[in-house]
Amino acid sequence: MPREIDPFYVQADDKLEDMADVLKPALEFTDADLERLSPEAKNLFAGRRRLGIDWLDRYEVVLKITRSPDGCGCGVRVGQQIVFDMRHKVKPALSDAPLCVHLMSPALSLFYMTFDRAAEGLNPMTCVWRYIECPMTGHHGELKALAEVSLRTTDTHEPVFKRWLNEEAQ
């Protein structure tokens, strides 16, 4: 039995024709593959309808280290940063912190939210979860590194705070 989906979201029979020219080469999709996608996956791509076809290229996520007592075992220091693109790839050339797997891994949850929020037409950066921490606690957390997360534009590196990035979507 077909699932009911709120009309705001992508429906099961939506073939994403408006973005097929972008998705097919990027993901090596055939037309049949596009049809195979679940409504949830199609909704993921629908962020392009809310924020623009190029929204993934317009922004970056920055993890700025705010705490690293005594420098952690991986050499992360306060003030350093790790930069990601919106496809959650590290941008090494823009990052000056060690690319520590322990500190970076918790950031993946932020990117689940960026795609979800984009599909809603919102600023992709969560307004709630703006800090991440390294799971390596040391003695009762004494050695725990912390980082603040923010969204910025790719071209000018200006912070992006607006709730709605596409005024027409309001």
Binding site: D33, A41, K89
Partner: protein
């Protein structure tokens, strides 16, 4: 009695996650590419050939913790039971988009050779 090793020290070795299969990956990760980490778990961007996708990197975090635990116990860092991993994308037939699989190995950066198991205590 000291033992002269014919390989780099364990601390100088690297953990390589080599892509064994990839399809419909939005970050264009391809078979044969690698994610390279030092033994502390720092991703070595200049030695990695794959695009540095957090969806794969984060999935390797438990594997790196396990490798460090195995080292502390005097074992080879690579578990014989858990040495293949996949990314967090569930794939096109399971509500996601693509999928990447990797095989983990210990590599001597001096020779580029895979370091096989060695006797405990050596």
């Amino acid at each position: 009695m000291s033992v002269k090793l014919d390989r780099s020290t364990l601390e100088a070795c690297e953990l390589h996650a080599t892509v064994t299969r990839a399809f419909h990956c939005a970050n264009k990760i391809r078979e044969g590419q690698t994610f390279v980490f030092d033994m502390k778990g720092r991703l070595l961007a200049d030695k990695s050939t794959a695009h540095l996708c957090l969806g794969m990197i984060a999935k390797l975090h438990p594997a790196i913790l396990m490798a460090q635990d195995r080292i502390a116990s005097g074992l080879h860092p690579i578990s014989p039971s858990f040495n293949t991993f996949d990314c967090y994308d569930t794939g096109i037939d399971h509500g996601g988009t693509g999928k990447v699989y990797v095989q983990l190995s210990l590599v001597d950066p001096t020779s580029g050779a895979t370091v096989q198991a060695w006797p405990v205590g050596q």
